[in-house]
C-alpha cells in the first residue's frame, strides 16, 4: 500500500511540525506552569505530576490554540488540571468557604508599623501565602509572581474581570491578617 505509506509519512511530518511549534510556543512557560501548580498543590512531587499532565493535555488541545497569549493559555490548562487532580487525590479542602468574617481584623489595625514587614521574612511570607484559601492564592500568585494583568488572570482562572479585582483585594487583606497574626505570635513567643 504505497499511498498508505505516504499517508503515514505525511501524518508523521504533520505531527513533527505540531510538536515543534508546540515546544516553541508553550515550553518556554514551564516555570510559570510549575510555579502555579506548586503554589496550588503546595507540594513538589504533586506539582511535577500536574505539570506533566497539563502539558500532555495542552498538546492535545493545541489545535485550539491560535497563537494568542501562550502563557495564559497554558496556565488555564494547568489550573484546570490541578483542580481535577485535587478532586481525585485530596480531601474536600477545595470546597473551603471564602469566609471573610473569619479572623476579621479591623482595617485601622493595618498600618505599616503594625504590619512589621521588615520582620516578615521570606519563610513567614511563603507560609502566609500557603495558608491562603485556594481561590485567593491563585489570583495572588498570578498577579504578584507572574505579574499578570486582570484580563489575563480572568482568562486563566475563568472569572469575570470584576471578580478578579475584588478577589485580589480580599486575598491581600487576608494575607495581611495572616502576617499580622504571625508576627504578633512571634513577638509574643
Amino acid at each position: 500500500m504505497v499511498d498508505g505509506v505516504e499517508y503515514k509519512q505525511e501524518e508523521r511530518l504533520q505531527q513533527q511540525n505540531k510538536l515543534a511549534s508546540f515546544e516553541t510556543a508553550v515550553l518556554p512557560h514551564l516555570d510559570a506552569a510549575y510555579n502555579l501548580a506548586r503554589w496550588l498543590t503546595r507540594n513538589d512531587a504533586d506539582a511535577e505530576d500536574v505539570v506533566q499532565e497539563a502539558y500532555l493535555r495542552a498538546f492535545r488541545f493545541f489545535g485550539g490554540f491560535h497563537g494568542e497569549d501562550g502563557r495564559a493559555w497554558l496556565l488555564g490548562i494547568v489550573r484546570n488540571t490541578t483542580y481535577t487532580w485535587m478532586q481525585h487525590n485530596r480531601s474536600p479542602q477545595l470546597n473551603m468557604q471564602l469566609d471573610d468574617e473569619l479572623h476579621e481584623v479591623k482595617s485601622n489595625d493595618l498600618n505599616p508599623e503594625a504590619l512589621l514587614l521588615q520582620k516578615a521574612d521570606a519563610k513567614m511570607l511563603r507560609q502566609a501565602v500557603e495558608e491562603l484559601p485556594l481561590e485567593f492564592r491563585e489570583v495572588l500568585v498570578l498577579r504578584e509572581l507572574d505579574e499578570m494583568s486582570y484580563k489575563q488572570i480572568a482568562a486563566v482562572a475563568d472569572l469575570p474581570l470584576g471578580t478578579v479585582m475584588s478577589r485580589l483585594a480580599r486575598a491581600r487583606k487576608r494575607l495581611q491578617q495572616i502576617l499580622v497574626s504571625h508576627t504578633q505570635t512571634e513577638v509574643l513567643s
Binding site: N35, N111, A122
Partner: protein
C-alpha cells in the same frame, strides 16, 4: 472621592489597572487622607515583600526533559490513533451500516424474503443456468419416460413421477440431478415449441401441502404446487397460460 471608594479602588490603582481619570482621583484623595495613604503604602510594601522573597518556584531540573519525552510519545501515539481513525473510519462505518441493515432485514418480517421467495429465486437461477450450458441441460437425454425414471434410481432418495406429454405438445427432453432447497432434487426438462420448461420435484414435508402458486420473476413464469407428497416447481419463459396448461397435465398424470 470617599475613603470607601478609594479603598476599593486602591488595589486596581496599585496594579495599574485603573484608568487615568480614576487614578488621578485616587491620588488626590490620598494627598488629603492619611488613612488611605497608609493603606496604599501597605499594599506597596506587601507587594515588594512578595517580590523580594523569591517566592517564585522555578521548575526543577529535569522536568523539561521529562515533558519533552512524554510529548514525543504522545505525538507518536497520536499518529497511530489518527491513522487508525481516519484510514479505517469509512470501512468501519460501512461495516456498521451493513450490520445494521442485516439486523433490520432479519428483524422485520416484511423485508425478509420468505422461504418460498428465496426458493423461487434459486429456481430461476437454476433454470437460467441450465439453459446457458448446453451440456448441463440434461444428464439423461431421452423422451422416453421409462428411460428417464429409472435413471434417477439410486441417485435420489425418492422416485420422482416422470411422464412424457409429447402428444399434448410438451415433449420430455430428459432429466438431471439438481441441488435445491438444501437437498438433491429431480429436474425434468420439457419443451413447448421453442421454450424449455424445467420441472423440479422433491418430497414435500408431511402436512405442508400448498395450493398452486403462480409467480413471475425476471420475466420467467413460475408455478408451484404440492401433489401426492411431492413439491413441484415449474419454471419457463413460456406464457403463464400455457405453463398452467402444462401443470394441469402433470397434476392429472399423478
Amino acid at each position: 472621592m470617599s475613603c470607601q471608594t478609594t479603598q476599593e479602588l486602591i488595589h486596581a490603582y496599585v496594579d495599574g489597572e485603573l484608568d487615568l481619570a480614576r487614578s488621578l482621583e485616587v491620588e488626590q484623595h490620598m494627598e488629603q487622607c492619611e488613612v488611605c495613604a497608609i493603606a496604599y503604602r501597605n499594599q506597596i510594601a506587601l507587594r515588594s515583600a512578595l517580590k523580594d522573597s523569591s517566592l517564585y518556584h522555578s521548575a526543577p531540573a529535569g522536568l523539561q526533559k521529562r515533558i519533552r519525552s512524554s510529548l514525543r510519545r504522545e505525538a507518536k501515539s497520536e499518529v497511530g490513533r489518527r491513522l487508525f481513525g481516519w484510514r479505517w473510519l469509512p470501512v468501519g462505518a460501512l461495516a456498521l451500516v451493513l450490520l445494521m441493515a442485516l439486523v433490520v432485514w432479519r428483524a422485520v418480517p416484511g423485508l425478509r424474503p420468505s422461504g418460498d421467495e428465496l426458493l423461487a429465486q434459486e429456481i430461476v437461477s437454476n433454470h437460467v443456468r441450465s439453459l446457458q450450458l448446453e451440456g448441463h441441460r440434461t444428464d439423461v437425454i431421452s423422451s422416453d419416460q421409462h428411460t428417464v425414471k429409472p435413471w434417477f434410481d439410486g441417485k435420489l432418495d425418492f422416485a420422482p413421477p416422470v411422464k412424457d406429454f409429447s402428444s399434448q405438445g410438451f415433449p420430455l427432453l430428459g432429466g438431471r440431478l439438481e441441488y435445491l432447497n438444501n437437498r438433491a432434487v429431480a429436474a425434468l426438462i420439457y419443451q413447448r415449441q421453442k421454450h424449455f420448461i424445467n420441472l423440479y420435484i422433491w418430497p414435500a414435508e408431511p402436512g405442508n401441502a400448498t395450493g398452486e402458486v403462480a409467480t413471475k420473476r425476471q420475466g420467467y413464469n413460475l408455478l408451484s404446487w404440492t401433489n401426492s407428497g411431492m413439491n413441484f416447481w415449474a419454471v419457463s419463459d413460456l406464457n403463464a397460460i400455457e405453463l398452467q396448461e402444462f401443470a394441469r397435465l402433470v397434476q392429472q398424470a399423478q
